[in-house]
C-alpha cells in the first residue's frame, strides 16, 4: 500500500520545520506534531521540543504514548519560562490550525460574526497567537482547504498579525513577523509573492491549481514548480515510530491515499 494523504502532509510539515537553528518546534495537532518530530529525526537535529507538558525531550514523544514509552526529559520548559525562553526571544517555530486565514496571513482563533460584545460564535480566544505572530516564525496546517478558512477580505477578528499594511502602527517593530508555509489537504503555499502575497508552491498529486483557487476566497499566485513529494521508505518508517497507534489515519475522512485517484 502506498502513502496516505496524511503521511504526505506530515512530510510537507516536516519540510516546513527545516532549520539549522536550535529552536523549539511546536506542532499543534497530530499532523504538525508528527511533522515536527520527523524534522528533528531527519534533517533538523537542532530542533527542540517538549513532552506536551513542561519538559524538553531529545526524542519526540510518540502520539498516545503511555508512561513507560515516554522518553526521559533532558530539559525543563514550564509555562513560566516559555515566553521568556522560546517566544519572546524568537527561538520557536509553531505550526497551528486557525479557524480563518486571510490574504495577509492574518488569522482568527477568537470569534466569528456578531460584535465584540456578542459574537455569533465564540471560539477559543486569541491564546498565544498575538505574541507568536510578532516574535517568531509560524506556519499553518489546514486539513480542509475551503473559502470558509481562506476567507475573502479580512478575518472576522485578527488574532495574529500578518502582512496587512493597514494594520501597521507607525513606529512599531514588525520585523519579527515571519510566516513560512501553509500546508493543506490540497497543496503547499508560502508568502513569497509581491508584498508577501500567498503563492502555491506545490500541488499534492492529482490536484490542479484551479481546484486550489476555487477553494480559496482570495486570489492566489501560481508558483508551482513541482508536485508535493511523496514520503520515502525511511520517512514512512519514522512516521510509524512517531505514531504507532495510527492517529494520523483519522485526520482526513476515510484516510485517502496521497495520490488522488489511486486506491
Amino acid at each position: 500500500m502506498g502513502a496516505t494523504l496524511a503521511e504526505l502532509c506530515i512530510v510537507a510539515c516536516a519540510e516546513t520545520f527545516r532549520t539549522r537553528r536550535e529552536i523549539v518546534a511546536t506542532g499543534i495537532g497530530p499532523i504538525p506534531r508528527i511533522g515536527a518530530g520527523l524534522a528533528k529525526l531527519t534533517h533538523s537535529p537542532g530542533l527542540m521540543m517538549t513532552d506536551g507538558e513542561a519538559f524538553l525531550v531529545e526524542q519526540p514523544v510518540p502520539l498516545g504514548a503511555a508512561g513507560g514509552e515516554r522518553p526521559a526529559p533532558a530539559g525543563y520548559l514550564p509555562f513560566s519560562r516559555f515566553f521568556d525562553s522560546a517566544v519572546w526571544t524568537g527561538r520557536r517555530h509553531a505550526m497551528v490550525t486557525p479557524t480563518q486565514i486571510d490574504r495577509f496571513g492574518q488569522t482568527n482563533l477568537s470569534a466569528l460574526g456578531g460584535t465584540h460584545a456578542q459574537p455569533k460564535v465564540q471560539m477559543l480566544g486569541a491564546r498565544g497567537f498575538p505574541g507568536n505572530g510578532i516574535y517568531h516564525p509560524n506556519s499553518m496546517f489546514i486539513p480542509a482547504h475551503s473559502p470558509r478558512v481562506f476567507v475573502a477580505g479580512e478575518v472576522d477578528r485578527v488574532s495574529s498579525p500578518g502582512y496587512n499594511p493597514a494594520r501597521r502602527v507607525p513606529g512599531g517593530n514588525y520585523r519579527g513577523i515571519d510566516l513560512r508555509r501553509i500546508v493543506t489537504d490540497l497543496c503547499v503555499m508560502d508568502f513569497g509573492g509581491p508584498d508577501r502575497a500567498i503563492r502555491v508552491i506545490s500541488l499534492h498529486p492529482g490536484v490542479t491549481f484551479a481546484q486550489v483557487q476555487d477553494a480559496t476566497g482570495f486570489e492566489l499566485i501560481d508558483a508551482v514548480e513541482s508536485e508535493t513529494p511523496l514520503p520515502g521508505e525511511e520517512q514512512l518508517a519514522l512516521i510509524e515510530r512517531l505514531d504507532p497507534r495510527g492517529f494520523r489515519a483519522r485526520v482526513f475522512k476515510d484516510n485517502p491515499p496521497a495520490e488522488r485517484g489511486a486506491s
Binding site: 513532552d51 506536551g52 507538558e53 513542561a54 519538559f55 514523544v61 498516545g64 504514548a65 503511555a66 508512561g67 514550564p78 509555562f79 513560566s80 515566553f83 517566544v87 519572546w88 492574518q106 477568537s110 470569534a111 456578531g114 465584540h116 460584545a117 456578542q118 459574537p119 455569533k120 460564535v121 465564540q122 471560539m123 477559543l124 480566544g125 486569541a126 491564546r127 498565544g128 497567537f129 498575538p130 505574541g131 505572530g133 510578532i134 516574535y135 477578528r157 485578527v158 488574532s159 495574529s160 498579525p161 500578518g162 496587512n164 494594520r167 501597521r168 502602527v169 507607525p170 513606529g171 512599531g172 517593530n173 514588525y174 519579527g176 513577523i177
Partner: protein, 294 residues
C-alpha cells in the same frame, strides 16, 4: 515564640471577598484550579466579579452562574473539549464583557501589578485587534530607537485564589506538579491571596523539608490557607490525580441539554463541599483519577 496561623475554612475565605472585586484564579485551563474555592463562591451571593483567569471550568461555571461581569482571558478551554461550552453560551448571549489578551501579555500584566508598575511595554498585540477592542494604549520608547509599543496595563487583583499540594499554617506552600503556570504572579499581583491545599501541615520544615524547592512564593504573599482535599476536581492535580474527563464531558453536554445552569448547579457545585466530594467518589475516588497523557 508566638506563631502565625493563617488557617481558615473555605466559607471564611469567601466571606473575605466582596461583590465587584477583581479576582484572579490560578492554574491553567482544566489544570490545577482552586475549584473547591470556586464552588464556595458559587454557593455564595457574590456577584459582579471581574475574573482574571487562564480559563477552564472556573471561568465557565462562574460565567454560567451569572457571577461574572467581566472576564480577562486569553482562552477558555477544557483541553480535550477544546471550547468551553458554558463560557461560549455566556458570550454568545452577550452576558459577559471581556478583555481578551494574548497568553504572554496576560502574565506581563500580572507582573506589572506585582512590581507596582502601571504597565509594561510589549510588542505583543501589534497588528491584531486586541489593543483596539481592549482599549490598550501605546507608548513610545524614550530612547533613540523610538519604538512604539503596546502598554500592557497592570492586572491588579483584589484577591487571588490558588490551589497547591501542601501548605502549613503560616502560609508556606508547596506545589509538586511539573508546572506551576503563573500562580506566583497571581499571588504577587493581588492584595490578598488565598491558598487551598490538598494537605495542611503544622510546620513545613518538620513535615516536608525535602520538598522545599516546590515552594512557589514566600509566605508574605499568603493571606489565608484552607485545606480542601480533592479541591482541584474536576481539574488535574499532578502527581496527585488527573482530571475527571467523564465529569467534564457531562458538564459540557449539559450546556446543550438542559442548557440551564440552575438545572446542573446542584450536582456541579453541591450544597456543601462534603456533599460534592462524596458525589465524585470521595477522596479515594478523586485520588484514583489517572493522570492525562499529552
Amino acid at each position: 515564640m508566638p506563631t502565625i496561623d493563617k488557617t481558615m475554612d473555605p466559607a471564611a475565605v469567601v466571606s473575605r471577598l466582596r461583590s465587584g472585586m477583581t479576582l484572579g484564579i490560578g492554574g491553567w485551563g482544566p489544570r490545577r484550579k482552586p475549584m473547591a474555592l470556586v464552588r464556595e463562591i458559587l454557593r455564595s451571593d457574590l456577584e459582579d466579579l471581574v475574573l482574571v483567569s487562564y480559563g477552564g471550568p472556573d471561568a465557565g461555571m462562574l460565567c454560567a452562574a451569572g457571577k461574572v461581569r467581566k472576564l480577562v482571558f486569553a482562552f477558555v478551554s477544557l483541553d480535550e473539549i477544546p471550547l468551553e461550552p458554558w463560557f461560549r453560551k455566556s458570550r454568545e448571549a452577550g452576558a459577559v464583557d471581556v478583555l481578551e489578551l494574548d497568553e504572554g501579555m496576560f502574565q506581563w500584566g500580572l507582573k506589572a501589578a506585582a512590581l507596582s508598575l502601571p504597565f509594561l511595554p510589549t510588542r505583543v498585540g501589534l497588528g491584531t485587534d486586541l489593543p483596539e477592542l481592549g482599549g490598550l494604549k501605546t507608548v513610545t520608547s524614550p530612547y533613540d530607537d523610538g519604538e512604539v509599543l503596546v502598554a500592557m496595563p497592570a492586572l491588579k487583583l483584589d484577591a487571588a485564589l490558588i490551589h497547591v499540594h501542601r501548605a502549613d499554617r503560616r502560609g508556606n506552600v508547596q506545589a509538586l506538579g511539573p508546572d506551576t503556570y503563573y500562580d506566583e504572579w497571581f499571588a504577587k499581583a493581588a492584595d490578598e491571596c488565598f491558598v487551598s491545599c490538598e494537605e495542611l501541615v503544622d510546620a513545613m520544615e518538620v513535615a516536608r523539608p525535602q520538598d522545599v524547592w516546590a515552594n512557589l512564593f514566600e509566605r508574605c504573599f499568603v493571606t489565608g490557607v484552607t485545606e480542601t482535599p480533592g479541591g482541584a476536581h474536576p481539574t488535574t492535580m499532578p502527581p496527585a490525580y488527573g482530571w475527571d474527563m467523564g465529569w467534564l464531558k457531562k458538564y459540557a453536554a449539559a450546556a446543550r441539554d438542559p442548557g440551564d445552569w440552575g438545572a446542573v448547579a446542584e450536582w456541579a457545585v453541591g450544597a456543601s463541599e462534603a456533599d460534592y466530594l462524596a458525589s465524585v467518589g470521595g477522596r479515594e475516588g478523586v485520588a484514583a483519577l489517572p493522570l492525562p497523557v499529552f
